[in-house]
């Protein structure tokens, strides 16, 4: 065994030194993310919005449903930081509580589109053949319908009742966004699976007798997931803005549900006299959408070796 031992010694010397190790794509991406201020700004915003969604009482102890009609349209003051709206609600409190609807819709619609789109993309890309043809044509059909138009059509067909429970109202918006949002991710996933599939390590797993499920789980998915995660993050911002648009049109979330879209819609009538009613929910909405899109951009740049 002299040969083996000689070579083992050689392997020792040629192995990379300590700090050079672990230069996988993910660790490289993390390293460049850590240096990116945009990443930290967006993360700070997102953490703040998540906290608002989970524990709104952390930020305010004013009941958002408490209307003080005689102080309606009051300008910002020490008493009500963002002023009061047409109904006399405290705008600060309602803006904080409104984050929950946006975050819920954005997060759940993103999860649903990732699951549906990812599964469809993997099936189409890995199995190919007629399955691919069917999935691709179905995505084409959904692509022909713009997200917003589809949302309006769906929500106008199945309108909310006044006494619909909160989760049903949110669930409907999530459903419609998922139905019209998954084809983009399916296409993306299909193309990255097609890129990973011909690699020799996938063939080697087949040669070892691995089942298709095992190959997908262990080899294809881990190497094909990055682009979809990036786009899903950007989509999260898009979903939040579409939710607000639908709510603004009066067909997304409907009162008594509290949401930025609803607040913007209510504020429109008083735009010229008391613009602050419109300002604060719009500002928060823009910041939330911006935060997720910036995060997505930062992650995409980090995962793209060409940008380094």
């Amino acid at each position: 065994m002299t040969e083996a031992s000689t070579i083992a010694v050689g392997a020792e010397t040629s192995a990379p030194a300590g700090h050079d190790e672990a230069r996988s794509l993910t660790s490289d991406a993390w390293r460049s993310l850590k240096k990116n201020p945009i990443f930290w700004v967006s993360m700070a915003l997102i953490v703040a919005f998540l906290l608002m969604a989970v524990w709104p009482s952390l930020f305010t102890n004013v009941d958002p449903a408490e209307a003080v009609l005689k102080q309606a349209r009051e300008r910002p003051s020490a008493n009500a930081w963002f002023g009061r709206d047409i109904q006399g609600y405290d705008i600060y409190s309602r803006t904080i509580y409104g984050a929950r609807a946006s975050i819920l819709v954005g997060v759940f619609a993103s999860i649903a589109t990732v699951l549906i789109g990812g599964a469809m993309g993997v099936i189409a890309g890995y199995y190919g053949g007629w399955l691919d043809a069917v999935v691709s044509r179905v995505t084409d059909i959904f692509f022909a319908i713009p997200l917003l138009l589809g949302g309006i059509l769906f929500m106008a067909t199945f309108p909310n009742d006044v006494d619909s429970p909160y989760l049903l109202v949110v669930g409907k918006v999530v459903l419609v966004l998922s139905i019209f949002g998954w084809p983009g991710l399916a296409r993306l996933m299909r193309s990255s699976v097609l890129q990973v599939k011909p690699n020799d390590y996938v063939q080697a797993a087949r040669a070892l007798g691995a089942t298709p499920w095992r190959i997908i789980r262990a080899h294809v998915l881990p190497n094909a997931l990055a682009p979809m995660i990036v786009v899903a993050t950007i989509n999260l911002g898009v979903f939040i803005s579409v939710e607000a648009t639908l709510s603004f049109l009066g067909i997304g979330l409907t009162p008594p549900a509290i949401s930025w879209g609803v607040a913007i819609s209510d504020a429109i009538v008083a735009l010229r006299t008391t613009p602050h009613i419109l300002l604060f929910p719009s500002l928060f909405l823009s910041l939330a959408v911006l935060a997720f899109i910036m995060l997505g951009d930062a992650v995409r740049d980090a995962f793209d070796p060409k940008s380094r």
Partner: protein, 366 residues
């Protein structure tokens, strides 16, 4: 004579060419077109040929990574293409592959332990769960890697080391046949020698049979017991190593061998190089009759119409399989086969890896 472990009969693989708006089939790429051979137990069969002659497709057919258009492979008494599902997966334990490119054959997101241990996860009855880590470390040791590197990722290794990982994965299930699809073509010459020597060592220790696909004639000569020469999807010549390299009878083999550089400068002038005219014809529209007739200096009318069969033809000192109507031995100045030389015969004979300075596989070229 040892018995055959793998018998391929009339293997054919056509890839359809689709064209037009309706994606209708307009033709076939005839990648492998009627190849038959036997692989004996414990031997190494080298397959040589230029790019695009169907060597790799042949390897993938033997692994059943592709389904053949027609033909059969009998492996250890079992018709390989008739197996389904579980039976096929069980059969795969006995026939494994080592790929050409060590940079794409290892999953970049898995540790070496995961990669080499994957065969045991897929076939859990081979090694009990508790013994797997030990089994993986033994394998790494066997292929000359440090067993302590079990938790490293592929990108932390050099090309030669990666190829060793690929070999370790290939032999993990203790297969009977290892198909090596250009296993050293992507490596530096010095590393090539190490890997080839490793493969010979493993053959001795584990009793493997190899199908060694390559385009490097000297590497194939070094490792092979028998050699097959492929041209445009067909086997042109097949015989013992000495028959092919010493007494080639097919004009294509002669041309190939004449292109091998001669290391001895005194012999260089005596060497007559046969320069073939033109390019390899497209496998989508191969020439009629003998596939080689468009470039052959011996071609006559018969070659354009009659397909020469791969049969025993005299080579001057005996006979071996050749697919040429006008098979005839021809003097080719030989390259030196170091594997046949005793240690003192020639300086080159001693330049084996074991005597090299322990430089490992050289720095990882990134």
């Amino acid at each position: 004579m040892a018995e055959a472990i793998l018998t391929a009969t009339d293997l054919v693989k056509y890839y359809p060419i689709k064209g037009g708006v309706l994606r209708r089939k307009v033709g076939d790429v005839k990648a492998v077109d009627g190849v038959s051979f036997e692989l004996l137990k414990g031997e190494t069969l080298g397959i040589v040929g230029e790019s695009g002659c169907g060597k790799s497709t042949l390897g993938r057919l033997l692994m059943r990574l592709e389904e053949p258009t027609s033909g059969s492979v009998v492996f250890d008494g079992v018709d390989m293409y008739a197996q389904k599902g579980r039976a096929m997966r069980k059969l795969r334990r006995d026939i494994q592959i080592v790929f050409q490119d060590p940079y794409t054959s290892l999953n970049p997101r898995k540790t070496v332990g995961d990669i080499v241990g994957e065969p045991f996860d897929i076939h859990p009855d081979v090694v009990p769960r508790k013994g797997r880590r030990k089994a993986v470390q033994d394998l790494l040791d066997l292929v000359g890697l440090n067993p302590e590197h079990i938790n490293r990722y592929p990108h932390q290794f050099s090309g030669g080391q990666r190829q060793r990982i690929g070999i370790a994965r290939g032999i993990a299930l203790n297969p009977k046949v290892l198909i090596c699809d250009e296993p050293v073509s992507a490596l530096d010459v010095s590393v090539q020698a190490q890997v080839v020597n490793l493969m010979e060592k493993l053959q001795d220790e584990l009793g493997l049979s190899y199908i060694f696909i390559a385009h490097d004639l000297s590497v194939v000569r070094h490792i092979s017991d028998r050699v097959g020469v492929m041209y445009l999807g067909k086997m042109a010549e097949l015989g013992e190593e000495d028959d092919i390299y010493g007494r080639p009878t097919h004009p294509y083999t002669q041309a190939l061998l004449s292109a091998v550089p001669v290391p001895d400068p005194t012999l260089r002038d005596k060497k007559e190089q046969i320069v073939l005219k033109g390019d390899v014809p497209s496998p989508a529209n191969p020439p009629s009759g003998c596939r080689f007739h468009t470039r052959c200096w011996k071609a006559q009318d018969k070659c354009k119409t009659d397909i020469p069969l791969l049969e025993l033809r005299p080579d001057g000192a005996g006979e071996h399989l050749s697919a040429c109507h006008f098979a005839q031995p021809r003097e080719i100045i030989e390259t030196i086969d170091v594997s046949d030389l005793a240690d003192g015969d020639l300086d080159t004979g001693r330049r084996d890896t074991a005597s090299l300075e322990p430089v490992g596989d050289g720095p990882a070229d990134s």
